[in-house]
Amino acid sequence: MIARLQHPSARGAVLLLVVLLAPPIRRALESSMTTQMLVQIPLLIAAGVLLSGAVPARVNAAMAAWDYRGITGLVLATLVGAFWMLPRSLDAAVTDVRFDIAKYLSTALLIGLPFALSWRRMGFIVRGVFLLELIATFFRLGWLYLIWPDRLCNNFLLDDQQRLGRYMLLIGALLFFWIAIKLLWGRLDSFSEALPPAFSPDTGARHLYGGPDV
């Protein structure tokens, strides 16, 4: 078992997945490109991140040998992420239920989960490169969606695509300023506080049950 399902964060992840699977919510989020890309998929990734808190320390330690500085997990998350950035994939997720199942499973288990586990192993440079690339992707895709004269997805409207473009530019800009502020007045490696389990860089040990759970 990779994760302990009784663990509170696993329960949280399952609850989030069930909510996202509820047909009315699914339909509402998938009816627009904006909500599918900026609400549904990020929440699915968040479910995977939550699930990472329930991975036993033993399993995580065994994976660490294959995941030096979190590179392997980052590569996996990036590749799966790239697949779901293809307009074709988003279109297919709306019309073909098999694609939708693949989307739910892969964004949670192959993006959110490995990324969260690997993030704790990443050093300053890997994190920096990732964040820069993330911001650049928001800008690149946002700009593309905003200026592209035709619809990229047959299932979504052009004004939806342009609105998504504007929001992505805005998110890219906010991320940029947030990181700039962090760089000027804080420490980049303090980002791990945002993730559910605690991590103590000074001991080198990877405690997965932070806080009162230990």
């Binding site: 040998a65 590569v75 590749l79 279109d91 047959n154």
Partner: protein
């Protein structure tokens, strides 16, 4: 070392997956994929029953033996279909000779059969000065037929925010054997005309 190995394996697998998902990096959108797909694997067009603007019923298979240029429209449309309408009107003049010889046929199929009565379809044709018989407008007589056509041709129709529809507008070329062989941009009828002329040459 193990990280390098694992990452390389993942990248290889991911590369293969992405290549497969985009038809070897040729089609990133559903629309591009649809056009590529019919060029490489022509699609058999089902014999769906249609009602034309005169109220006559005919079967799509009745057009076998000619090159059929099809577009999908709804008569209330004020955006894509007006482009399509004028493009078909242009095709009517650029393909005048083969049209007159019954080697080519123009057909506009409505995906809004509830609203598009034969009378509305006739008005639609009149708007673009369609010549009788060379350019027909028709609606599928039942919902099943419409869905089958949309599926085979790859037409996606979604409601827009103004009470109308948005749809992937294009000109579809069906060969004399009743197979969808090529799809052209709605705004580029001259390409469609050239393709038909090329195929008509012995």
């Amino acid at each position: 070392m193990r990280t390098l190995l694992a990452s390389l394996v993942l990248m290889l697998g991911g590369g293969i997956a992405l290549s497969t998902a985009t038809d070897h990096f040729r089609a990133f959108t559903t629309e591009a994929a649809r056009r590529l797909e019919v060029r490489e694997h022509p699609v058999d067009i089902p014999a769906v029953t249609l009602e034309t603007e005169t109220g006559a019923r005919l079967d799509l298979s009745a057009f076998r033996g000619r090159w059929l240029l099809v577009d999908f429209v709804y008569s209330r449309c004020t955006t894509y279909c007006t482009t399509l309408g004028s493009e078909l009107a242009q095709l009517q003049s650029s393909l005048a000779a083969p049209l007159a010889q019954h080697k080519v046929q123009l057909l506009s199929i409505s995906f809004d059969p509830e609203h598009d009565s034969p009378q509305r379809l006739a008005e639609y044709l009149h708007r673009y000065r369609a010549k009788d018989a060379e350019w027909l407008a028709a609606r599928p007589v039942n919902q099943g037929g419409l869905e089958l056509l949309e599926r085979r041709f790859g037409i996606t129709v979604i409601p827009d925010s103004f009470g109308g529809y948005t749809h992937n507008a294009a000109i579809h070329l069906v060969d004399p054997r009743g197979r969808l062989v090529e799809i052209f941009d709605a705004g580029n009828s001259s390409l469609a005309a050239q393709a038909v002329m090329r195929r008509l040459e012995p």
